[in-house]
Amino acid sequence: MSLNFVLIEAWNGLRRNVSMVVSVVLVTLVSLTFVGSAVLLQLQVQSMKSFWYDKAQVAVYLCTEYSALGQCDQAEASAEQIAAVEAQLNSATLTPYIDKFYFETHDDAYANFVEQFKGSGVVDLVTPDLLPQTFWVNLKDPTQSAIIFEAVGGMSGVESVVDQRSYLEGIFSMLNAASLTAVGIAALMLVAAALLIATTIRLSAFSRRRELAIMRLVGASNWFIQTPFILEGVVAATVGSLLACGAIAGIVVFFVGGFLQSSLPTTSFIQLSDSLIVFPVLLGLGALLAATSAYVAISRYLRV
């Protein structure tokens, strides 16, 4: 088959339908940018999860003389109570789950606090005896913190047991909601893009209806008739996908790498190299979407 003829036909179709092709490009660009953003958000959530969850510990806060919570009665946890908690953590029932744990004294806690809030006025208000003594527990499986709650939560001298992951859950659920929103918008936009591509192809077929009628009469194969239209849709959508890839790269480099990184320097953000995986997904999705909707559109037009 004469490939040249097919390519020329596809090019003519694109040229004759410039305004529709531009709209296909734009809709593909926007919808795939949303798809890409959703993927990026998920990547960010995953990287933050793996970064933080491994570091997340279960804190067993012991009573201070100012605390009335839990098993405390405004009395400092006694040495016996501390020893009982430590014995419990060392017991045969808990050791299979615990990677390691260590004890943090008032002074250690104060030193960490000062380190963490260096330069902040709050440092001056805090004294070591305000900060509870703490057993920091690293679990083998961070999701099994409930075991520690059950084992030591009710012991006397224990103020509270806190899984640090619960602080993270809030952030992650917010990021997840954002990425679900992006996916939802992307889905709507992709439907719009598919319909727009189908309409464009139908218009393109309409403007070439004479050629099509003659092609069918002289017995041009369906492949030969359809391919220029499918190519036309794929080319337009691919231009949109490439622009979407550019937009995603721009977001990662300038917004995430520039703005977010400088305003939240301690957080690890995704890099351009992490987001490279998004590009083939976008290009593939764009091409597949265009080829499918163009094929459906032109097949309806060409029923024998």
Binding site: S207, R209, E211, A213, V218, G219, A220, N222, V304
Partner: protein, 285 residues
Amino acid sequence: MIRFDGVSKQYRSGNRPALHDATLQVKPGEFVFLVGASGSGKSSFLRLILREERASSGQIHVLGQDLGRLSNRKVPHYRRNLGVVFQDFRLLPTKTVFDNVAFALRVLGKSEAFIHDAVPEVLGLVGLGNKENRLPHELSGGEQQRVAIARAVVNKPAILLADEPTGNLDPTTSNGIMDVLRNINAAGTTVLMATHDTAIVNRMQKRVVELSEGRIIRDEASGSYVTTAHDIIVLDESTLQRADSQPIALEPLDFDPIPAFDPMSPTSEALDLSYLDRMRDEDPL
């Protein structure tokens, strides 16, 4: 070559069949006129051969193929054996005469070298050897129809179908077109031509198959065609326009001259794509 065995065609919207129990055989090299009033089933006949439609019942064999069993996928390949000419020419207005004819070969993937041999040859055959680079609107109606014929036969089809090819032409020009068709037929191509034109049918003295209300009512080896005033006034505007320039042969009839007129029946409009032409060539945006 072409064989119809008890073929009926019922359109979904029609209340009577467009073709009813038609049995017919056309041998290789024959020239056959299909005559009859509008709505008599001529165009349905051609559409069935083209496999634009499937028969509702009965069997159609063309070139050894059972059209009822021909899958949609194989239809394009089958159609390469057929050439088709229409009343409204259906040329591509933006392409030259050469490119219009070459288009039929290009979409079949023929090489440019072959095209540059075949197209001038066929243009010579239809008498347009010196007009390769004209655009269709620069040609007369008769010349445009010659281009359409050239396009139909450039691929050397075994069968040429012509649906009222002289319907838009004056008698002199029509005779020129008929000479071209006769030459093509003489070269071995089977020609099947649907027409209203009594003068042409009577002059050519070829086989005549007459249809009325979807039935074959006459099949003569070397026949003539007689229309009635009823046909001209009620059924056929194009003949009416030519009525003054053309004496109408009046001979005794051996069949019912006044077929019931049925406005709902499928007519040649079934094949007609002229509604597309009304929306001119401009970009729809």
